[in-house]
Structures are given as C-alpha cells and as structure tokens.
Amino acid sequence: MWKDLLLQAATSTFEEAAFCMVEGVGEGGPEVGGARGVVFFEGPRSGFLMVEAEPATAAAATANMLGLDEEPSADLRQDALFELANMICGHLVSAAGEGHALYRLSRTEEEESLGEEPAAEIVLSLDCGPARVALWLAPVAVAGEV
C-alpha cells in the first residue's frame, strides 16, 4: 500500500510542481547521490519522508519551479527539495488517512532514523535526472504496551 501511495504522490508532485516528467520507476538501482530534503510527519502515523537528487536534477527541478533561466543557488536547490518532500508527504498522509486525519509536517535535519530499511522506496527516472523518494514509518504503538 505505502509504495503505491508513495509513487502516486511523488509522480504527481514532480510533474505538477516541478514539471519533471516521470519516464520510469525503479526500486533501488544506482545510488542517487547529492542533496536531500527530509520531512518529519506526525499524526495517526509518524515517520520521515526523504527526497534525494543529484545536483543537476535538483537544479533543473528548482529552475522549473521558479521559471529561472540561470542556475539556481545551492540554497534554493536545497529549499526546493524540502518543499518537494513536503508536498509528496502531504499528499501521501492525506491519501493514507482518507483526508480525515490531521497531520503535522516539519522539515528536519534529523536523519539518524534514515539508516534503517525504509517502509517504501522508489527511484524515479525523470526527464531532468534521477530522484530517490523514501518513506520511513515509526512502529505503531499497541494498546497496553508500555
């Protein structure tokens, strides 16, 4: 379920916000190095969502978002990755909660939990380069558990 939701949210966000068209989807493949934007979410479920992209991919997406002809600064590229993660995460949790659960989203530099196996992960082949999108979920508390 999570992978389908992640793919749907990531595809629509990259295509509608950054005008980067999805040409293919993988589950891992080659490492996508470079900058990353991570968003922490809390609500009925909590966890992290990360968007990672190579500098050229991030630059193209940022330039598309802002309608720039020139190369966007590193700060703008980083901010764009955070905002893309924010939009993907917002749509993901909204779809997962069927629109009725309230979630709080925040940017985070906290990346310790990202070392664990993600609950869902995709690598998008975009027309502006590859991008990795991954989701980590915190364990659900069981009633009566201390």
């Binding site: 629509s12 966000t13 509608e16 916000a17 005008f19 940022t62 598309n64 978002m65 802002l66 309608g67 700060d75 703008l76 901010d79 764009a80 955070f82 905002e83 924010n86 939009m87 995460c89 917002g90 749509h91 909204s94 909660g97 629109g99 009725h100 659960a101 309230l102 979630y103 709080r104 989203l105 925040s106 940017r107």
Partner: protein, 141 residues
C-alpha cells in the same frame, strides 16, 4: 492595488506564489514575505495587508494558529486569507471552518491561485483580464 503578505517556510514556494500573483493581472501594491506564522503576525501588525497567503505547516508558529490570531483581533479580523498548503483535507477544512479562509492545494496551477485570490478579495467582478495572460491559462513560466 492589493498589498499582499505571503507566509511560507519555503523560499521557493514564496517566490512561486509571488511570481504567479504578479503574472495574474491582479494589481499588486506592496508584497511582503514571512518565513513562519510569528513573522507573519508581526508584518500584519505593522503593515496594511489586503490579502494574506498562508501555508499551514511552518516552524515557530503554524499557519492555523496564525489565522486564528488574525481572526481574534479587531484590527485584522476581516483580512482576506488564502491557505496554500498540501493539507486541504476535509479534516483540515473542518478545523478552519470558522476562520473564513479559502483553500488552494499545493502544487497549485496559476489559474487556480489567481481565481481564489480574486474570489477571497472580492475582486472577481472588477478585474479586467481581457487579453492578459491571466485571462485563460497563458501563464508562461
């Protein structure tokens, strides 16, 4: 001329909103930006603002709290507010139902942002958009 405040913790998103409004044919006066709800309230307290475009998930002070404080003040209670957020769910709309706000979901189209900005400011009938980029989807980014 509309004085506008855009409140979002993303610089990129603030630039996207401002650029879209400038291209929309809406006559803009001063344009202010803030990175969180607290900064936004500070701008609202010292500047005349006609339209506030506000994100919900922000550090320091979130958008919903900012909006509730704007509505609680006699000086700002009638300010036109447009919420631009990933969270336009039924649950969020219910939480803000008494705050008289309009919603635009991220990512937004220029046409959608323009239409809601005109509607919430009551300018729908008075803006002449004939022949402008704003008339029918010819926003060229």
């Amino acid at each position: 001329m509309l004085n506008v405040l855009v409140v979002d913790d993303s610089v990129v998103m603030r630039k996207m909103v401002v650029k879209t409004l400038r291209m929309s044919g809406i006559p803009l006066g001063e344009v202010h930006e803030a990175g969180d709800g607290a900064e936004g309230l500070e701008v609202v307290s010292r500047e005349w603002i006609d339209l506030a475009v506000i994100d919900l998930n922000m550090p320091v002070l979130d958008g919903q709290t900012m909006i509730e404080r704007i509505r609680a003040s006699d000086l700002t209670r009638d300010l036109a507010i447009l919420v631009v957020s990933t969270d336009t769910s039924p649950g969020r709309r219910e939480a803000l139902k008494d705050c008289r706000v309009s919603f635009v979901e991220k990512p937004f189209t220029p046409e959608r942002l323009r239409a809601e900005a005109l509607r919430v400011t009551g300018l729908e009938e008075s803006i002449d958009v004939e022949g402008s980029a704003a008339a029918g989807g010819d926003f060229d980014f």
